[in-house]
């Protein structure tokens, strides 16, 4: 026979325990309703904010495009010039830009000694330099040594060293000659 009634006296504590759980369930429902609406509201606000920003940016884009409408042809030309100029700049990196370095060395030598002459000059695009200076007068050679050790001369080089020193004996047609060979690297000229 089917049992219709529940005997609460036997399992009273157990029943109360479950009843409390179900009370918690009701409270959870209220909390969840609150969470749901809060979440909905927060997401709505965030989305509204984003949509407003999108509209504002679209409007801004439209205005700017309107301003640039008449400049289309000029823009294509400027863009072309920009690309060609970029190529020009990158190709110029392959150049030794020897002129200012050669001029500097030439004038520095002439200032330091009257008999000194730049015999050979080699410069690469990485500013590595090799040069030979010839003298016909020994005291002038000595004074040149003082000059090349001065800050005025050395400040233009990252590195510089004396590669060789040679004396070419006097002949019938030529006086005794002294040659100094240097190797180094120029500092970039500003």
């Amino acid at each position: 026979m089917k049992k219709l009634n529940i005997n609460l006296i036997i399992n009273r504590e157990d029943y109360q325990k479950y009843q409390i759980y179900f009370e918690y369930l009701k409270i959870s429902l209220i909390v969840l309703v609150f969470v749901f609406f809060s979440l909905f509201f927060i997401l709505f606000l965030i989305l509204k904010n984003k949509t407003d920003l999108e509209k504002k940016l679209n409007l801004q884009k439209g205005t700017l495009l309107e301003i640039l409408k008449d400049k289309k042809v000029d823009e294509v030309k400027i863009s072309y010039i920009g690309k060609k100029y970029q190529d020009l700049s990158s190709y110029l990196k392959d150049d030794a830009f020897s002129s200012p370095y050669y001029a500097f060395l030439n004038s520095a030598i002439q200032e330091s000694s009257e008999s000194a002459q730049l015999e050979t000059f080699l410069i690469t695009k990485s500013r590595d330099v090799d040069f030979t200076i010839a003298f016909t007068d020994f005291p002038q050679l000595m004074s040149f040594f003082k000059f090349i050790e001065s800050e005025t001369f050395l400040k233009n080089f990252e590195t510089i060293s004396l590669k060789s020193f040679s004396v070419i004996g006097a002949t019938e047609n030529q006086k005794e000659n002294y040659e100094l060979s240097f190797a180094g690297k120029f500092k970039p000229l500003k």
Partner: protein, 226 residues
């Protein structure tokens, strides 16, 4: 496992709450997923739009701060197409060497193409010339732009004993730049100032080039003399 009868009764009594909780949890998950999805797509759209607007703003600012008449732009294009033609033009190489020679007094009387060091966009010539110290200085000063073509030399060697026949390696460039589309515009007018400075060094006749100067921004090709 058998459900206790009072528990079953409690479930039955609170069925509405239980269903509501499941429904609400489901709704919360759906709202979070849909919301986050829409926010992330909106963020991406805003990012793309912001970039686009930034670019447009830069372009607008450029035109507001830099006044560049169309004629000047055309001149600059002609200058650049002369310095770096879209297609190699051998006549202009010979012509530019001749011009530099006349301008500097450094006489160029021979040249040979260094095939090994040349590429599609670079033509390397070994040039033989002679001149005194002053003309050589002038040559060093002017060879980059003086002939109307961009010329570089990665190594310069001078020997006083052999000024009768100095050999210099010169590189000429060409590059086809497509006209299509607008890439990033310059942020200031430095390019145009630099080009003005180059124009001073180049003897370039813009009026002569005007017929050939290209609305399609391409350099006119002359036939190969070799």
């Amino acid at each position: 496992m058998k459900i206790k009868p009072y528990l079953f009764r409690l479930i039955k009594e609170n069925a509405v709450y239980i269903i509501s909780i499941f429904f609400l949890l489901l709704m919360i998950i759906v709202v979070i997923l849909v919301g986050l999805n829409r926010i992330s797509s909106s963020v991406l759209k805003i990012k793309a739009l912001t970039n686009e607007v930034d670019q447009l703003q830069k372009r607008t600012n450029f035109f507001q701060t830099t006044i560049l008449p169309t004629e000047k732009l055309d001149e600059d294009i002609k200058l650049l197409n002369s310095l770096i033609p879209n297609i190699e033009d051998y006549f202009s190489i010979i012509y530019s060497l001749e011009i530099i020679s006349q301008k500097t007094g450094f006489s160029i009387y021979g040249y040979s193409v260094d095939i090994g060091q040349s590429t599609v966009n670079k033509l390397r010539l070994s040039v033989t010339g002679s001149g005194d110290n002053i003309s050589f200085m002038k040559f060093l000063d002017q060879y980059n732009f003086g002939g109307g073509r961009l010329i570089t030399s990665d190594k310069i060697e001078l020997n006083q004993e052999s000024t009768e026949a100095m050999k210099i390696d010169l590189t000429f460039y060409n590059k086809d730049v497509p006209v299509s589309g607008i890439s990033e515009l310059p942020t200031d007018d430095k390019i145009f100032k630099d080009l003005e400075a180059i124009k001073q060094k180049v003897s370039f006749d813009f009026s002569q080039a005007s017929e050939e100067a290209n609305l399609d921004l391409s350099y006119p090709r002359k036939s190969n003399p070799f």
